[in-house]
């Protein structure tokens, strides 16, 4: 397949990943998500559909009030005691992607913007989750909530459609829209937040954490362009802030080192703070294939499930 790229990240041996830039050229999110997810699944040796409701979890002693249909009669026959079988109740989980579409996301130095990347990521995740027959939903926000697709088993196409016509416009804020959303998600589910997190780590964590309050599982993707991480500019130029429009004369060579260390410290702080509040945090470089992100998501899910 010509679309297949030659990336071969050592983290996932055997997986075949597609260059996000190539994917971006496809344009059709549905196709993209399918291509990625199918390729990804094919590459995995483990079955992807874990969490099915038939999975046995554990036995526990019968207490009055338990449904007698759940009594394990085989165990009763062996032990003459009543035990009730418990299963993983993962079916029909709510899954929502919260996507930051602020102006700063509209930046890309390698042919695709962070928003494009996030869009594909969303499509892929939605597709993946839809395959599991979970309910998918979608929220786009900048300084307020811009788009909202409630989670539903039938909303896969809607989500892809909404994703397709997203336009970045306004400066972004995390706190207000996410706090609003935290109140909205009543039912437990999985929430994926995708943003570039241009705010203090404290502010970010403070904005994101309430999403967990109702028992939601929270996965955070921090999307950054390689230029934002490496700061590989060479010419002295006026740098213009995409959101505020403010300009600043910058000699990149002179300040690269300091910039990098600041970004590194920011990422480290986010990582640490999120791990403190038990939120999955993943830094995504838009030059890296999407599969990497999917793998991180799934592996984290798996970890979560094992923990239960």
């Amino acid at each position: 397949m010509s679309l297949m790229a030659s990336h071969n990240p050592s983290a996932i041996p055997g997986a075949r990943f597609m260059d996000p830039v190539v994917l971006a050229r496809i344009g059709n999110l549905s196709l993209v998500s399918r291509a990625v997810v199918d390729g990804f699944i094919n590459g995995l040796h483990k079955a992807p559909y874990f969490g099915a409701s038939v999975d046995f979890a554990e036995h526990r002693g019968y207490v009055p009030g338990d449904d007698i249909r759940r009594v394990d009669w085989r165990v009763w026959a062996r032990t003459d005691r009543y035990y009730v079988k418990e299963y993983e109740a993962e079916s029909n989980m709510n899954f929502s992607v919260l996507l930051d579409i602020s102006k700063s996301m509209d930046y890309g130095s390698i042919g695709m913007t962070k928003l494009d990347y996030a869009r594909m990521l969303t499509a892929c995740l939605t597709n993946l989750v839809h395959h599991q027959r979970d309910r998918v939903g979608f929220v786009a926000f900048d300084e307020d909530i811009v788009e909202h697709v409630p989670p539903s088993a039938k909303h896969m196409e809607t989500v892809l459609h909404v994703l397709d016509r997203l336009k970045p416009g306004r400066p972004g804020r995390l706190r207000e829209p996410l706090h609003k959303l935290a109140e909205h998600f009543g039912r437990r589910g999985v929430l994926v937040v995708i943003s570039d997190f241009y705010a203090d780590p404290e502010t970010v964590v403070d904005a994101v954490t309430p999403l967990r309050f109702r028992g939601n599982d929270l996965v955070v993707f921090h999307v950054l362009d390689p230029a934002e991480i490496e700061f590989g500019f060479t010419n002295a130029s006026a740098f213009e802030d995409l959101e505020s429009g403010e300009q600043l004369p910058v000699v990149p060579e002179a300040m690269r080192k300091e910039y990098r260390s600041l970004v590194r410290a920011h990422i480290d702080a986010l990582q640490q703070r999120f791990s403190e509040v038990r939120v999955d945090y993943t830094l995504l470089d838009t030059s890296k294939p999407l599969d990497h992100a999917l793998f991180r998501y799934l592996s984290s899910r798996e970890k979560k499930l094992r923990l239960r």
Binding site: M105, Y107, N235, S237, A238, L248, E258, L262
Partner: protein, 680 residues
């Protein structure tokens, strides 16, 4: 260091161009849109800005090259004194200016001045050269640029100097000193100015400028005697005639410029060297007294008189000399047609009135003019006569010999065309009896004959009505002094030989005009006669410093030659060509004698300039500042400099060339450096 074209430094603003290119231009050219400046802003801004310049070496080389090129265009040059300071002390050229005006004879001033001069000479080093300049109203180089071996000659020149009779003038002395210093090749130049610094001797700068870097050391000789200082500043002579003898009354003015009043002094009048009258003299400090002596009979020509005050601190100005001679009349011959016409009446009457000078008139008919008459006369007036050719030729010789001829034309006037003396050719009469009479239109007021009428209301020539005149055609070398209102020449003058000829185109009697009846007639005739006779009032005295030419005292200008006997008895022979003049340097009587030396042709009294007896001093710094062109140009003490020749001037300004070369070399280095940088 100074700059010939400092305005070029405005181009230093160009230095900002490379910096601006580095700092501003490149930023504006490229705008990078970036998601967030959150981290960029945290990097300290100043360090960003400062480090924006990539290569300090390159920038410095560029800026230095530009600055050097601008500096070269500003034409830097080293001032001479700066150069000399760098050279350090060297041999000196010292000019000692010693004031020998007569005011130095006051009290002990002369001894002190001489001691100061000796000090200056003794202070000369082995490599120094010294000059001695004695100055009064003029300056005389006693010894020029004497080396150390000539030191005794310098001392001898100082010892031999005596105060003269002249007044003080600083400017000529400074000019002489300037010329000596300018020719000197020694590195340090000094002027020692020894004088009593009288205020009267300095009349501003007068162009006396010493070479740049000259040190002027003024030595003021002042104070000392506390005594009256009486000066006889002038006499006035009032002539009168008493029983056919001419007498003169002398009035003398004495001034006391000393610090103490004079009491019980004497003022005496001497004639021919013998005191004949004496008057008591009391003068207050800064006061003046005029003393009138009794009239004295003028015995003969060149009577020498002196007014002398009794001795005081400054003796030179106590005497005042003058020469009185009997008044000499101007002899005029009026040539007229005779008793029948009577036209000369107005002329003779007008000439009889004059006193200064007195005119002695004789009337002759054209055929009766004797040779003796012409020899004695100074002026001949031809009043409307037909001049025979013989008389015309004699008159031509008379004029060429220095005589004056006035020709008044009337209906009868004629002149022999062979004799070219008249300033204009005489043509036909013009009749203006009908209609308006002719009047005098334009006058040449610059001419001595019309000079007194120049001022407004000082004579109305236009009032005279001219009913007839002769048309004349002026000669090429003649000057038209007056014209009639129609533009025809009225008065024409021509110089022939040593004499002058005036031609009046109308008559000077009533036959053709009423001019003789007008008030301007008399002064016009007098001025014309004086002018033609070249009459000038003989001055009773001259002042030291003025020049005496050999024609002084002669009634008619004659070829000057002879011998001059100075008051000190020195004989000076004068050149035959009359080109030589003698400057009066002594006080007393100068006698002019003929070549054989046995007859006195003139006596001239010479007096000192009495302004010099005013000893009021001035601040020597004023002279120093003016001579050295202000505080920047020279110094009162310290170093000195070489004479500034055009070559040295050019050499001191050639600095720009090297600066420009260095700038261009740096530009080359800049190219090399930037090439290497771009390669790396």
């Amino acid at each position: 260091m100074s700059f010939l074209a400092p305005l070029f430094f405005a181009a230093l603003a160009a230095l900002a161009i490379p910096v601006l290119i580095h700092l501003i231009q490149r930023e504006k050219k490229q705008v990078v849109r970036f998601p967030s400046l959150m981290f960029v802003q945290r990097v300290p801004y100043k360090s960003v800005r400062r480090r924006r310049i990539h290569n300090w070496l390159l920038l410095c080389v560029r800026l230095t090259a530009l600055a050097l090129i601008v500096l070269a265009f500003a034409r830097p040059f080293l001032r001479r004194d700066t150069l000399n300071t760098a050279v350090g002390a060297g041999a000196r050229e010292v000019v000692v200016l010693l004031d020998d005006s007569y005011s130095l004879a006051y009290g002990d001033h002369w001894e002190r001045a001489r001691a100061a001069a000796s000090n200056a000479i003794n202070g000369l080093g082995p490599d120094d050269r010294g000059s001695l300049v004695l100055f009064g109203s003029g300056a005389e180089i006693a010894l020029r640029s004497a080396a150390s071996g000539d030191r005794p000659r310098l001392a001898a020149a100082v010892a031999a100097a005596r105060p003269g009779a002249s007044a003080t003038r600083y400017a000529p002395a400074l000019k002489v000193a300037g010329s000596i210093l300018a020719e000197s090749s020694l590195p340090r130049r000094e002027v020692v100015l020894i004088s009593d610094f009288q205020r009267g001797g300095w009349r501003g700068e007068e162009g006396a400028r010493l070479p740049e870097g000259t040190t002027v050391t003024p030595v003021a000789i002042a104070g000392g005697a506390d005594a009256p200082n009486v000066a006889v500043t002038g006499v006035s002579l009032a002539r009168s005639t008493f029983s056919n003898q001419e007498r003169v009354a002398v009035t003398a003015v004495a001034v006391n410029r000393g610090t103490r009043a004079l009491r019980g002094g004497q003022l005496s009048l001497e004639i021919g060297g013998r005191p004949i009258q004496s008057k008591p003299l009391d003068v207050e400090v800064n006061g003046s007294v005029s003393v009138v002596f009794d009239p004295v009979t003028v015995a003969g020509a060149f009577m020498r008189g002196s007014v002398r005050a009794s001795d005081d601190a400054l003796a030179v100005d106590n005497a005042f000399h003058f020469v009185v001679s009997p008044a000499q009349p101007v002899r005029v011959i009026v040539v007229d047609r005779g008793a029948t016409g009577g036209g000369a009446l107005y002329l003779t009457r007008a000439l009889a009135i004059g006193e200064a000078p007195r005119f002695e008139t004789v009337v002759r008919q054209p055929d009766a003019v004797a040779e003796d008459d012409l020899r004695r006369a100074s002026v001949v007036l031809l009043n409307d006569v037909a001049v025979p050719a013989a008389l015309a030729r004699r008159l031509q010789r008379f004029v060429e010999g220095g005589g004056g001829l006035l020709v008044a034309l009337g209906p009868r006037a004629s002149w022999s065309p062979d004799v070219d003396v008249l300033p204009a050719a005489i043509e036909a009469p013009v009749d203006r009896t009908r209609g308006d009479a002719a009047r005098l239109g334009t006058l040449e007021f610059g001419h001595p004959g019309f000079e007194p009428f120049r001022a407004p209301r000082s004579g109305d020539f236009a009032a005279a009505r001219i009913y007839g005149y002769r048309a004349v055609k002026p000669a090429a070398d003649a000057q038209v002094l007056a014209r009639f209102d129609g533009g025809a020449p009225a008065l024409v003058e021509r110089r022939v030989g040593a004499g002058k000829v005036l031609l009046w185109a109308s008559s000077l009697d009533l036959s053709w005009s009423d001019f003789p009846l007008k008030p301007v007639y008399l002064p016009f005739v007098h001025r014309a006669a004086r002018h033609l006779a070249s009459y000038s009032e003989p001055a009773p005295w001259l002042t030291v410093g003025q020049v005496l030419d050999a024609s002084a005292g002669a009634a008619r200008s004659q070829p000057a030659s002879g011998v001059v006997l100075t008051p000190s008895g020195r004989r000076v022979s004068m050149d035959e060509e009359g080109a030589e003049v003698i400057e009066l340097a002594e006080q007393g009587f100068y006698e002019l004698r003929n070549r054989s030396g046995d007859a006195v042709t003139a006596v001239v009294a010479s007096n000192v300039d009495t302004a010099e007896s005013d000893l009021t001093p001035m601040d020597p710094k004023e002279i120093v500042a003016a001579a050295t062109a202000g505080p920047g140009g020279g110094r009162e003490a310290g170093g000195s400099g070489q004479p500034v020749t055009p070559e040295t001037q050019e050499r001191s300004q050639r600095l720009w060339w090297y600066v420009l070369c260095l700038g261009i070399l740096l530009l080359g280095a800049d190219t090399v450096i930037s090439n290497r940088l771009s390669k790396s």
